[in-house]
Symmetry: C2
Subunit: 402 residues, 2 copies
C-alpha cells in the first residue's frame, strides 16, 4: 500500500474537534453537554441574509468570477470604507471563509521551508495551514500572567532569520480575546519594514470588541506595502456555514498572485456572495448589536471565572473567547473528566484544552479556551457547572486518568 506524505502524517488534529466522540457518548448517556468549545455562534445572521439568497432568480448557477461577483466585491469595498479604508475592488479577493484567505496569503508570500513569526497562543488551525503549505511557524510567547502583552522588540527580532517571510497576528485575538493597540501594531509594522517581510493580519473578529473602535492594520499608512488582511464574514455576520471571507491588501504584487491562485480554484459560492451583499453594505447596526451581546456574555464568563479558586484569566477586549488558567495539572485530563466522569443534574460542560493553541512544548497545559457561544442564561448555567466540575475534579486524586 502506498504511503501518504509526511505532511499528511504530521497534520495536526483540531483540538476543538477531537473530543467530539466523548461528547456524543455523554449525550447517549442522557447528559446535556453545554458546548462552549467551538467558535460557532448561536446567533442568527443579519435579517437580510436568507432573503437575499432566496432572491436569486436565475435558472442556472454558473461559476462566479474569480475576483468575486461584482456586487459582492463592491460590498466589501463599501464595508471597508466604514473604517476609512480606500480599497479598490482589485485590492480585495473573496475566499472560501477566512480559512482559505489564510492559506492563500501564506502561499503567496512564502515558499516551502520559509517561516512566519506567530504569537502564541493562536488559533490552532494555523498549524494545519502551515503544514499544508510547507511553511514553519516560529512562536513568540505571550503570557496570561503578563496580560498577553507584546514582548520586548529585541525578543521578537531575535526570532527573525533569512527564511522569515512574515509576522502573523490575529486581532482581536482568538483564543485570548486580546486587542493589539495601535502602538503595538506600529511596532510590528516597523519591524516588518526593517526586515522587508509581510504582516498577515487576521481580522476576523474586527468589530467584536468591548471598548474603542474597530481597527484594521491597513489604517496605518506605513503598513500599505507590507500588510495583508485575511478576513471572514463568519463571525461578524454569524454565518460560518456560508464560508465567505476575503483577502485584502494594497500590495499589488501579492494580490496579483493571490488572484492567480484564486483562478486555479475558479470561484467562491455564488449564493452566499449574493446573500452577504446587504450585510456588508451596512454592517454597523448588526455588528454593534452582536458586539454588545458578546460583551454581556464576556462579563458573565469573566465574573464566574474570577470566583473560581485558583483560576487565572484576563478581561478579553474582543472576539468571543477567553483563556483561563485552571488549577489543574492537565487541562485535557480535566476536559475528559467533564465528559466522562462528571455530571451535575445530568449536565456537563465542554471547553477546549489550550495546549494546542501553543507551539512551545508544555505551554498551555493547564489552560482552557471558553467560547461565549451560548445565550446569557445558558452561559450562566454552564459556568456554574464548570465551577462544580472543577471542585469535583479536585476532590478526586490529581492522578485521575482517563
Amino acid at each position: 500500500m502506498p504511503k501518504i506524505s509526511r505532511r499528511g502524517q504530521n497534520i495536526f488534529s483540531s483540538p476543538i474537534r477531537k473530543f467530539l466522540p466523548l461528547v456524543l457518548e455523554a449525550e447517549k448517556r442522557g447528559i446535556k453537554v453545554f458546548k462552549i468549545n467551538v467558535g460557532d455562534p448561536d446567533i442568527a445572521p443579519p435579517a437580510s441574509f436568507f432573503p437575499a439568497i432566496r432572491s436569486y432568480q436565475k435558472k442556472i448557477l454558473p461559476y462566479a468570477p474569480s475576483p468575486g461577483i461584482k456586487e459582492h466585491t463592491a460590498a466589501w469595498v463599501k464595508y471597508y470604507r466604514g473604517f476609512g479604508l480606500k480599497l479598490k475592488p482589485a485590492d480585495i479577493i473573496p475566499t472560501m471563509g477566512g480559512a482559505e484567505a489564510i492559506l492563500l496569503a501564506i502561499t503567496a508570500v512564502a515558499d516551502p521551508g520559509d517561516e512566519f513569526l506567530i504569537f502564541e497562543p493562536f488559533y490552532a488551525s494555523y498549524k494545519g495551514f502551515a503544514t499544508m503549505s510547507g511553511v514553519k511557524l516560529t512562536p513568540v510567547t505571550l503570557k496570561v500572567e503578563n496580560n498577553f502583552a507584546l514582548p520586548p522588540i529585541k525578543e521578537i527580532k531575535s526570532k527573525i532569520n533569512r527564511r522569515t517571510r512574515g509576522i502573523i497576528i490575529i486581532n482581536p485575538n482568538n483564543p485570548t480575546g486580546m486587542l493589539w493597540a495601535k502602538k503595538d501594531l506600529a511596532v510590528l509594522v516597523k519591524i516588518a519594514r526593517e526586515h522587508n517581510i509581510f504582516i498577515i493580519s487576521d481580522e476576523t473578529y474586527r468589530e467584536i470588541i468591548f471598548q474603542g473602535k474597530p481597527v484594521s492594520i491597513l489604517q496605518l499608512p506605513r503598513a500599505k506595502d507590507c500588510a495583508i488582511v485575511v478576513d471572514s464574514a463568519s463571525k461578524r455576520f454569524s454565518c460560518p456555514g456560508a464560508r465567505i471571507g476575503c483577502v485584502a491588501s494594497y500590495n499589488k504584487e501579492a494580490m496579483r498572485s493571490i488572484l492567480k491562485f484564486a483562478m486555479t480554484r475558479l470561484s467562491v459560492p455564488t449564493l452566499e456572495q449574493i446573500g452577504l451583499v446587504p450585510a456588508l453594505s451596512n454592517a454597523g447596526p448588526y455588528t454593534k448589536k452582536i458586539a454588545a451581546e458578546y460583551k454581556k456574555r464576556r462579563d458573565v464568563v469573566l465574573n464566574a471565572l474570577k470566583k473560581m479558586p485558583g483560576v487565572v484569566c484576563r478581561e478579553p477586549q474582543g472576539a468571543f473567547y477567553i483563556i483561563a488558567k485552571l488549577p489543574v495539572k492537565n487541562a485535557e485530563d480535566f476536559v475528559k473528566f467533564m465528559l466522562t466522569g462528571f455530571n451535575y443534574n445530568k449536565n456537563t460542560v465542554m471547553v477546549t484544552p489550550a495546549e494546542d493553541f501553543y507551539i512551545t512544548k508544555g505551554l498551555g497545559r493547564d489552560e482552557v479556551r471558553i467560547a461565549f457561544v451560548l445565550n446569557i442564561k445558558e452561559l450562566k448555567e454552564a459556568m456554574e457547572i464548570l465551577a462544580k466540575g472543577l471542585a469535583a475534579y479536585h476532590r478526586k486524586s490529581d492522578s485521575y486518568k482517563f
Copy 2:
C-alpha cells in the same frame, strides 16, 4: 517592499481566463462573442436543487461538520452505490468543488519536491495546484493524431523516479474528451502497485459519456488501496457555482489525513450540501438527460470541425470538450485575431488555445479546446463563425501579429 514567494511569482495564469479583457473590448464594440472556451454549463441544475436550498428553515447557519453534513455524505454514498461501489461515509469527504478535492488529494500523498505523472494535455488548473502544494508534474504526452491512446508501458515507467508519489488521470478527460478503457485503467493500476504509488483519478465528468456505462477506477478491486477519486457535482449536476465536490477513497490512511486537512478549513458551504442531497440520491435521470444533450452538441461540433480544411480532431467519448488541431502556426494568435481582427455580421467566437494544457514546451501551439456549453442552435452558429474566421485568418498573412 517585501517580495512575494517564488510560487506566488510562478503560479500560472489560467489560459481560459486570460483573454477576458479582449472579450470585454469586443463586446464594447458591439460584437457578440460566442463563448465556447469555459467549461461553464448553460444548463439548469436538477429541478430539486434550488427548492432544497430554499427548504432550509433554521434561523442560524453554523459550520457544517468537517466530514460533511450527514445527509449530504449519505447522499454521496447512495450516489456511488449506483456504480456498485460500497463506499462508507468515512470513505468520502465533501470538498469545495473538485478544485479543493484535487488540492487535498495531492497534499495528502505528496510533500514539496515530490512528483506526479500526468497525461498531457490536461486540465490546466492542475499546474496551479502543483505550484500551490510545491509538487512537480511530469508529463506523459498523448497525441491527437494517435487518438490520445495510452503510450507504451515502458515509456510511462521510465518517467517514474523515487520522488514520484502518484499518477494523475482525468476520466473522462478534460480537454480531450477521451475515456480511459477499463484495460487502460488496469494497466495504470498495475504500474501504481508495482511502484507503490497512488492514482489520483479525477472523475468530474463520469456520467457525461457518449457510449457505454459510467466508470470509476474504484470499481477495479486492485485499485482499492492506491486509488483516490476526486469528484465534483459541478458538471454532472450543472451547478459549478455551488462549489461542491468530494474526495473518495478506500485508503483509510489517506482519508484520515484528508479529514484532518478538511478540519483545518472547517467545513463546506451548508446550503449547497443540502441543495445537492436529492440530486445525488437519484442522479441517473438527470445525468442521462444531459449526457444525451452533450452528445448532440458533440456531433454538431465534430461534424463542423470535420468540414474545416486542415483541422485534425478525434471524436470525444465523454466530457464536453474537444481538442482541435488547427491549420495555424499559433492558436493563441488566432484566438486574438478572432477577438480583435474579425467579426461576421457582428459575431465572433472565443475558444481556448490549448498550449497551456501541456507542460512540454511547444506542444499544443496549433491546438484549441472547444467546450460544448451552448445550445445546439447557438453552437451551430458558433461553428459556422469559427469556420469563417479560420478562412479569414488564412487570407491574412501567416505573419499576422496581434
